[in-house]
């Protein structure tokens, strides 16, 4: 067990290094660097002055020295300056990380709240009308692109019916910390969370349904039934214990997917999170912010996948590959 965890963690390190190298090369390929940023307000700068600044920022050093400096700072949370906003990238990220994490967390919870009961119903009562409805819903959810679904929900529930706000993460007129503030936050979160959750349930429902169908004809279930265990308990005490465990482990994959997948939903609901910042920054050609965001998202996915792999190997020893 320990050996697997160690191996999996070690395997992550080259992935992180490779990711940072690729992003570093991309950053170099992006137009503009620290110098163009510094000279933005000063078009009269002479080539000698620019050269001096380049030297000062270390832009004439060999690439591996520049890379070392960049990654060393990034690890400590220093991603450089945003030249559009004239402030450290870290400051820009600060307020938005919370919003995106909140959105992803609630979306994940909502996915499980919807998918687990539906998956159990579909698996336990296969080929009933309830199962058929759930399978049809799955078809729709699988086929619908996120941005189309989010737009339709926004149009219907925010614009036509007016039940929910059309953008932002909270009503700015309300003081932070009050009950009204929490209510306003919840109202602003509801539609973005639903747009993400309702069409992301496919994997979980399908997994649960298939697994329960597989489990319910196994010998241990037959034994339980033969002993006279009531049907309800056969499910809660026997089948679901086996079927639900891996789902707990999928949480890691799910959340990392949601954090990077929030680009569409945050843009549509003008929800001030990381995804919206990414689109804004790249439209403004503010590449220090873009680089930081890609690096953070990539690292989050790599670490999240590793955690999920480890949890999965704990709950399901069969996948512990040597």
């Amino acid at each position: 067990m320990l050996k697997f965890i160690l191996r999996r963690t070690l395997f992550m390190i080259p992935q992180l290094i490779l990711l940072s190298l690729i992003i570093f090369m991309l950053a170099k390929a992006m137009p503009g660097d620290a110098v163009t940023g510094a000279f933005q307000g000063n078009p009269d700068a002479t080539p000698e002055q620019i050269e001096k600044i380049r030297e000062k920022f270390g832009l004439n050093d060999p690439w591996y020295q520049q890379y070392g400096r960049w990654i060393g700072k990034a690890v400590q949370g220093d991603f450089g300056m945003s030249y559009m906003h004239q402030q450290p990238v870290t400051n820009l990220l600060a307020g938005r990380v919370e919003n995106t994490v909140l959105l992803s967390l609630f979306t994940a919870i909502m996915i499980y709240l919807i998918a687990i009961p539906l998956g159990i119903i579909a698996g336990r009562w296969t080929d009933t009308w309830a199962d058929k409805m759930i399978v049809t819903y799955n078809y729709f959810a699988f086929a619908t692109p996120t941005f189309v679904f989010a737009l339709l929900l926004l149009f219907l529930f925010a614009f036509i019916l007016g039940w929910f706000p059309t953008g932002n993460s909270v009503d700015i007129r309300i003081e932070a910390g009050t009950w009204d503030y929490i209510v306003s936050k919840a109202k602003h979160l509801f539609l973005p969370v639903m747009s993400g959750a309702l069409i992301s349930t496919v994997g979980t429902i399908q997994y649960l349904r298939n697994d329960i169908i597989d489990q319910k004809i196994k010998d241990y279930v037959k034994t339980a039934r033969a002993k006279g265990v009531p049907e309800g308990k056969v499910y809660t005490r026997h089948i679901l214990r086996n079927s639900l465990l891996p789902i707990a482990a999928f949480l890691g994959y799910e959340i990392t997917g949601l954090i990077t997948g929030s680009i569409f939903i945050e843009s549509i609901y003008s929800y001030p999170g990381l995804g919206q910042l990414f689109i804004q920054s790249i439209s403004l050609r503010d590449f220090t912010v873009v680089t930081a965001l890609v690096l953070i998202s990539g690292a989050a996915v790599i670490i999240g996948t590793m955690l999920s792999d480890i949890i999965l190997s704990i709950v399901d020893p069969r996948i512990r590959i040597e």
Partner: protein, 303 residues
């Protein structure tokens, strides 16, 4: 005495009846599933309309700005009203559908070729080659693809439709490669591959002319389903403003009108039809895709 030649002919005919071609099985499966049949018919109508109507519509009328005719709601002259430049939305919808479909097809085929080649090589050689190629693939699969595509679209010089197709294809073959590889690994253990190796057939010939035909049903199923995904992705990227360059309208271009709150609510005719059309197309392709999937796996067939 029966004629031996005739007998052989009858045997071949019988054999064909017992092992119908994939296309025939797919058609039988679709005929049996009413939803799939309806989807196929609707999809055919959409595709025909998208490719034929741009030939009839005057292309100039879609680009000519007419300030006297701005934001007109749907009417007999403009079936779906007009946009901010007085251009006909219905005409743009048809041209956009055609462009989105064409790009979806191209990306599906190019990404399919990438994934197929990678998966076949990895699965055919196995061992150390497979090990290294799979580690690389695992790394590629955890990259935040959407962000990378957007970054590439922004920084690539001379950005045009072809570079866009290539960038998209470059990030959407990973899943296919893994799928093909797992089947190729099983296939390489079979006798016909060993026999062919013993006869000295070059490896590339075995991979593409002997192994590939046996995986073709898997490839067809996967390509049908990823076609829907690719159209969704292209329109999504264009919607965000990082897809098709201006001047090549896609369904996403029309939907991107909806980034303005006033237009979402009061000028719905500009973006809603495109959004619904994407939804309908995705559903149809998926229904047909599921039927194709069942046809390729005898255990799941309904017919």
């Amino acid at each position: 005495m029966t004629n031996p030649v005739l007998d052989e002919k009858r045997l071949i005919a019988q054999e064909k009846l017992n092992n119908p071609s994939l296309m025939r099985t797919i058609w039988r499966e679709i005929k049996h599933d009413k939803m799939a049949l309806g989807s196929l018919i609707l999809l055919t109508i959409i595709v025909l309309a998208a490719y034929i109507s741009p030939l009839i519509i005057d292309p100039a009328s879609l680009t000519r700005v007419n300030f006297l005719n701005v934001w007109k709601p749907p009417s007999a002259a403009n079936w779906l009203g007009t946009d901010d430049g007085g251009r006909d939305v219905f005409g743009q919808l048809m041209v956009g559908t055609r462009n989105s479909l064409t790009i979806g097809f191209c990306v599906t085929i190019i990404a399919g070729i990438f994934g197929l080649t990678y998966g076949l090589i990895s699965g055919f050689y196995g061992g150390a080659v497979d090990n290294i190629m799979m580690r690389i693939l695992e790394f590629l699969m955890v990259l935040p693809s959407l962000m990378f595509i957007i970054v590439f679209v922004t920084i690539v010089p001379n950005y045009n439709v072809f570079t866009f197709i290539l960038i998209m294809s470059a990030f959407y073959w990973f899943g296919k490669a893994r799928l093909i590889r797992s089947r190729a690994l099983a296939e390489r253990e079979l006798d016909y591959i060993n026999a062919s190796k013993t006869l000295g057939t070059p490896s590339w010939k075995i991979m593409f002319f002997e192994m590939f035909p046996n995986l073709s049903s898997l490839v067809i199923v996967n390509m049908t389903l990823s076609l829907a995904g690719n159209i969704g992705l292209e329109t999504g990227l264009t919607f965000l403003g990082f897809g098709l360059p201006a001047g090549t309208p896609s369904l996403g271009t029309l939907i991107s009108f909806a980034r303005n709150p006033d237009i979402v609510k009061n000028k719905w005719w500009s973006w809603l039809p495109a959004a619904l059309l994407i939804l309908v197309m995705m559903l149809c392709i998926n229904y047909v895709g599921q039927a194709v999937k069942r046809a390729s796996d005898a255990r799941q067939r309904l017919a």
